[in-house]
Structure formats: structure tokens, C-alpha cells
Amino acid sequence: MSEQAAERLEAELRRQTDAARAAQSRYLSELAATAAANRPDPGLETFRSQPEQEPAMAVLTDTALPAEQRVEVLRRLGASLSRRAEYIEALLAIVRDRGDDAAVRSVALQTLGGAAFQVVRFRPHQQAYDDVLHDLVDDPVPELRETAVGVLAQQHDPVVQATLLGALRGDGPLPVERERAILLLAEDDHLDNLPWLQELYRNDSASVRAEAVRFMGSYPDAEPTLEGILRNKDEAPSVRQQSGAALRFLTPERFEAVAKEISTDPSDDPDVRTACLSALQHLGDTDRLYADADFVNRVREVRGDESAPQLAQVARDLLAQRPEP
């Protein structure tokens, strides 16, 4: 980079950082003014903080202030606030408080989630954070319920799993949509998910069916179902493609046989054919693939099919990469 270009870049970064600092400084002044204008919460003397953080906590914890103002504290200062143990406790209290504004609670939860990434620093609070998530499972605010249930389910939390399973069986209310509940349980392949996924597959939405099929890919017992879906020309292409991926994971050899048929079947959907051929081209035993002379001949017939240009291109690429005999 020329010296002039470097100088221009430095000048631009200076401008950006100076502007950021100035904006931060203005904001902190506004915060201090807002905090001073309101009665201080007697609990604040417990916050041993840097000067700018004490007004921030005063504004954040003042439920009389507009929610937007409190959310802005979290957006602008939430990360630095959550590096201190006492402030994390305050954030947890905000999330737990069902009387507080939903938007503030939601962003506080998001802030805590970001703090949780600082694993070593967050460790003393992890269990309290999990407890708050458990508390949110029956929270009146749907967004909070969904977030909590999602995070816990991904961790294979047994408490939320028991709640979801019981609710699906009719024992208690579902904290999230039925479809979502099934998919969240499916995050743990050590549960008996296949019957629920089979129920989900009967859904009207192709999007839902695609997700059901995706998670079926953890269960060898689902292989016949997945092959059937992949072959089903009446099923949405997106669902069939997902089924192909799941089938390939469970039984690569069976997928290979089916994919060879579908990819060279001119009556089948071009996208499904393309996905099958692409998987054959890049993954698995390509030596065996190229040794199948009959298949290679069928691919040759595909390469000039301009009614399916993407498929034709994949066919040409596959043939071009074939090793010399």
C-alpha cells in the first residue's frame, strides 16, 4: 500500500474512532444527567464501578424510564456492564421480573447470552443463568419463552426436555408451537424422537416437513421413509433434497444407488437431480462412481440438457473431472 493510501486509511480510522469516542462521551453525559434527574436507587451503593457504569445501571434499573432508553443502555454498554459480577446479577433480576418491560427483559437476556460466551469469566453465574432460563419456560412473553426453551433444548437440558415431552403428550401447556417443540426435542438424538418427527412430516408446510426430514437423519430406522421421500416426485423439491442429505448420511451406499437413478431421470425435478448429482460428484467414493460405465454414459446424456442448465453444468464438471483411463 502506498504511503498516501496508508495515511488515508489511518485518517479514516481516526475519524471513525474519534466519532465513536465522542458519541460515547455524549451518551455517557446524557446517562449521567438522566440518572441524576431521577431519585437514585438506594441499592446502587453496592455497585463499585467505573464512573460511567453507575449512571448506566441507574438508568437500566429504573422501570419508570421509557423502555427505549433502557434498551439503549444495554445495546451500547451491555457488554462492558456484563463483565462485572454484580451487574450480571442485576441483569438476571431484570430478566426474571415479569412485571418489567418485555423488550428490556429480552435485550437483557440477549446481553447475558453474549456474556455467557466469556466462559471462564461467566462460570460463577452459569448456574444462575440456567435457573433464569428455566424460570422463563412458562413466562407470559412468547419471545422470552422461545429463547429460553431454544437455548436449553440445544444444551439437551433434561428439565426442558421433560416439559416439552409432557406437553406434547397433553400434560401441561406447550411453551412453544407444537412443531417447534418437536424440533427442539430432536436436537437430542438420544431421545425417542422418530415418532414425533413422523407426525411432523404430515404437516402442510414444506418448511416444516424439511426440518422433520432433516432430523430423521439421525435414526437408522428412518432409512426406508427417507428413501421414499427422496423418490416421491409429488413432494416439494426442497424436502426431497433434504431427505437425500439425510439418507446419504445414514446409508451412503443406498443413497448412491438412488441418486444415480434420480440424477439421470429426465422426468424428475431438475433441482433434485442437480443436488443428487452434485453430492455424487464431490463426496463419497468417486473412483467407484467413475467406474460405473453405465452411469457415466447416462451422465453424458445429461450434459447437453439446456432445459436444466445447472444440472447440465454439474454433469459437465463431473465428466471433466473423471480420471483418465
Binding site: A6, Q50, A79, Q118, V119, G217
Partner: protein, 433 residues
């Protein structure tokens, strides 16, 4: 008459991959005509197309678009230095072509095709670059059977996560993590680099079916028929769970912008990496923008133990690393032995130390192959992969080894990666240290 060009650190196939860091090269006469020295000019073969190169006679001299050399007739090599031009990276392997010609003549005596290979903004990638990346990544994953699962397993259990989070080694560990992955991708396709996700800006082309997937009405992540990432599989389960909580078409994630991030830890010349306390250093960026980028989604990327199951994780962290690189350039922070570049400058046994794996002289798990509490029980990736294009960071890098990634202080530290918008060197007005 023939001229031979050799550029240091070629790969096994003799190809060269350059960044912005200068690399040693030589030119020599192969079949002299007469005994007189030969005057040549080294330049770019096509100044309009492809990656662009610049040259210097000495490593630390200013570089120019052409360089005049005088080559002895006896074939003695003449040294020069070559690097990519910032802002003119390659978009395909071998599209940066060095030419040697007699001065003023159009006909080249010899050419050498190389690649100026740097990490780029994912949202700005061309279709071919994007497809090469997604294909290489999908092959590394190999539907769960590939090496990718090792990378996932490095970021899973609590003891593993301790090695890399919540303490100042966060940035070094993840820099090594990304480079390890990138080098494995380059074994599959040497033209590939890890792109970064500029999370403070909209990235609609990234969250699309042709790239990392478009999220459908029910949170299904949809890939196009030719996108091999549809075969993605981690932990024995197909697909990806990801639902952005922001509008990916017209908004960035819920993060601070680059200017705010770069201002963390103070401004030049006083900027500090970490202070040894809760706050005051650049390492606070682990919370914002890093943590907030993660929590701008529902799905795997929202939680530490599941985040690397989503390939977006690596593009997110590539931007985190880019921000660190930019901060380093802006503030001249390449010498880890200086207080402002790293606070805990000893090792885990030092008088003033933090958690193991986060002191400057600590080696980093898993590459150090140290297992057993407080390290995890096994080491999924060890040693750190050696590549012909760079000798650094070595088989068991320390936290400190990851700081001088372009070889500014020590040429041997050059790790052969760079960012398209982060130049080599330091910002002009910064004093050393």
C-alpha cells in the same frame, strides 16, 4: 535468453501464495548470451486484470509496481522482494502474473503466475470464489465423516471452552483456530481463504441459498441445489439450526460498528490490549461485538457449546480476528512483550498470571497435546499443521506466537494470511510499541 524466477515458500506443486507481507524472490539468467550483465524489469504482466504485485530490492524498502534488476551473466541469483498490492487481491489461483522483460520491451522473457491470496468480505465474494469456499468447506465436513468434526470438538466441552474464552487469550486462540481450519481448507483447494462476515453491516449475499443458507419460514436453512453445504452434518445430525433475529437483507447484527470496536482500549498511542482487570482493554470486544454477534441469532451459533456446528461461526470469528488485525495496524501492537500489547506476559506459573492458556508464554490446547485437568481429556487437533508457505506459528504455538502474524518484527513469524482491508506494517503516524 531465459530468466528463472523463484519465490520463497512455494507449495508442493510449486505454486506461490502471497499476502501483503514481502516474500523473498530471486531472478537469475539461465542461458546467458555473452558475459555482460543483463538488465531486466520485473513488473505485473497485466496491470488491469487479476491480482497485482509490487516489488522492492530490500525487504523493508518501499515497494513499487516495477523494479529494475541487473542479473549477472554467470547465473548468480539476484534477490528482490515481492508482495501483493492492498486492494488488488486475486480472485482466482494464478491470476497474478509477474513478468520479467528487458527494460522498455513489451515481450516478456519469462512470466510466473502466483496468487495474491487474502481473506475477504464474504458479502463481496464473486460467485466462483464463494463456490470454491463452500465446496472446500463441505468436503472438509464430508457429511460428518471429515476432519471438520475435530474443529467442532475443540469448542464443545467446558474444559475445552476454558482454553479460549473469558480471558485475554481469546483472540490468540481463535486466530490459531481459524488458521488451522483455513490450512485444512487449502489442502483441499489452495486458492481458498476464510472469508469474514462484516457483522456490523447488511450481508444479504452471505445469508443466501448459494452461500451459507437462507432461513426459511420455519427456521429451516435452505441451500441451492448446487451448494454442497446442503450435505452439512455435525454431531451425527444433518443440516444447520439458525434463525437470525435481525433482518439480514438490510441490517447488520446487534453489534457495535468497527469504529466503536477499534476505540476500545483507548486510541493511539495509548491503546491497551488488556489491563489485567475487568475492563479498559481492547479485549473487551469479546463481549461486543463478538458476543452480541453470536446472540443475534436463535440456533446453534447462540451458545458456546454448539456454535461451531454452524459454519457461520468461522466467518463471524474471521471478522473478530480482522478487527484485531486492524487494531494492531492502527496502534502498532505487534510486540507481545510490551505491556500495551499484552498484560499477562509470563506463563501460567508466573507471579502475575491468569488462567492457563491465556498467558503470553503459554502453549495453547489442543495443539500442544497437553491433556488432563485443567486441560481437557484429549486433543482433537495436534500438532498445529505445518505448511510449505509458512514456518510460523510452529507445531505448538503460544499465545504470543499469534501476535506478529505478518512477520513485521520477525520475518519468520509470517503466517501467510492477511485481510483485504488491513495493510502490512503499521499506521504511518504510530511510534513503535
Amino acid at each position: 535468453m531465459q530468466i528463472a524466477i523463484a519465490i520463497a515458500n512455494p507449495d508442493a506443486a510449486g505454486r506461490n501464495y502471497l499476502t501483503w507481507a514481502p516474500v523473498r524472490a530471486t531472478a537469475r539468467v539461465v542461458d546467458p548470451v555473452g558475459a555482460d550483465p543483463v538488465a531486466v524489469t520485473v513488473s505485473n504482466d497485466d496491470a488491469q486484470a487479476g491480482g497485482q504485485l509490487e516489488f522492492a530490492a530490500e525487504r523493508d524498502e518501499p515497494r513499487t509496481g516495477s523494479l529494475d534488476l541487473t542479473l549477472p551473466a554467470d547465473g548468480t541469483p539476484v534477490e528482490f522482494w515481492v508482495a501483493g498490492v492492498v486492494g488488488r487481491a486475486s480472485s482466482a489461483d494464478g491470476d497474478a502474473v509477474l513478468r520479467v522483460a528487458n527494460p522498455g520491451e513489451a515481450v516478456a522473457l519469462t512470466t510466473k503466475a502466483v496468487m495474491v491470496r487474502v481473506r475477504k468480505d464474504a458479502n463481496e465474494l464473486g460467485a466462483a470464489e464463494r463456490d470454491r469456499f463452500t465446496t472446500a468447506l463441505a468436503k472438509l465436513n464430508d457429511q460428518g465423516a471429515g476432519l471438520f468434526q475435530n474443529f467442532r470438538d475443540m469448542h464443545r466441552q467446558p474444559l475445552a471452552l476454558n482454553q479460549a474464552h473469558g480471558a485475554p487469550g481469546f483472540l490468540s486462540w481463535h486466530r490459531a483456530y481459524l488458521l488451522d481450519l483455513e490450512r485444512e481448507l487449502q489442502r483441499i483447494d489452495p486458492s481458498v481463504t476464510l472469508p469474514y462476515w462484516r457483522f456490523d453491516r447488511p450481508a444479504p449475499r452471505l445469508f443466501a441459498a448459494d452461500f451459507l443458507g437462507r432461513t426459511g419460514p420455519f427456521g429451516d436453512v435452505i441451500f441451492s441445489a448446487t451448494n454442497l453445504l446442503r450435505q452439512w452434518n455435525t454431531d451425527g445430525a444433518p443440516g444447520i439450526s439458525r434463525r437470525p433475529q435481525f433482518n439480514v437483507q438490510n441490517s447488520g447484527a446487534f453489534v457495535s460498528d468497527d469504529g466503536t470496536t477499534l476505540a476500545m482500549g483507548g486510541l493511539p498511542p495509548d491503546a491497551i490490549f488488556d489491563t489485567g482487570t475487568d475492563s479498559g482493554g481492547f479485549d473487551e470486544m469479546e463481549g461486543d461485538p463478538h458476543g452480541f454477534a453470536h446472540t443475534s441469532f436463535a440456533g446453534w451459533i447462540r451458545s458456546t457449546g454448539t456454535a461451531p456446528r454452524d459454519p457461520l461461526f468461522f466467518l463471524l470469528h474471521c471478522n473478530v480476528d480482522r478487527l484485531w488485525a486492524l487494531w494492531q495496524w492502527f496502534n502498532n501492537r505487534f510486540d507481545g512483550t510490551l505491556p500495551r500489547a499484552y498484560f499477562f506476559r509470563g506463563s501460567a506459573g508466573s507471579a502475575v498470571a491468569t488462567d492457563i492458556g491465556h498467558n503470553l508464554l503459554d502453549t495453547m490446547w489442543p495443539w500442544n497435546n497437553v491433556t488432563g485437568f485443567p486441560r481437557p481429556g484429549n486433543a482433537p487437533r495436534t500438532p498445529f499443521p505445518a505448511v510449505p508457505t509458512a514456518t510460523a506459528p510452529g507445531p505448538a504455538p503460544t499465545v504470543g506466537d499469534m501476535i506478529d502474524y505478518q512477520g513485521l518484527l520477525n520475518a519468520q513469524s509470517d503466517m501467510n494470511f492477511a485481510y483485504d482491508d488491513v495493510p502490512y506494517g503499521v499506521a504511518p503516524s504510530n511510534p513503535p510499541g
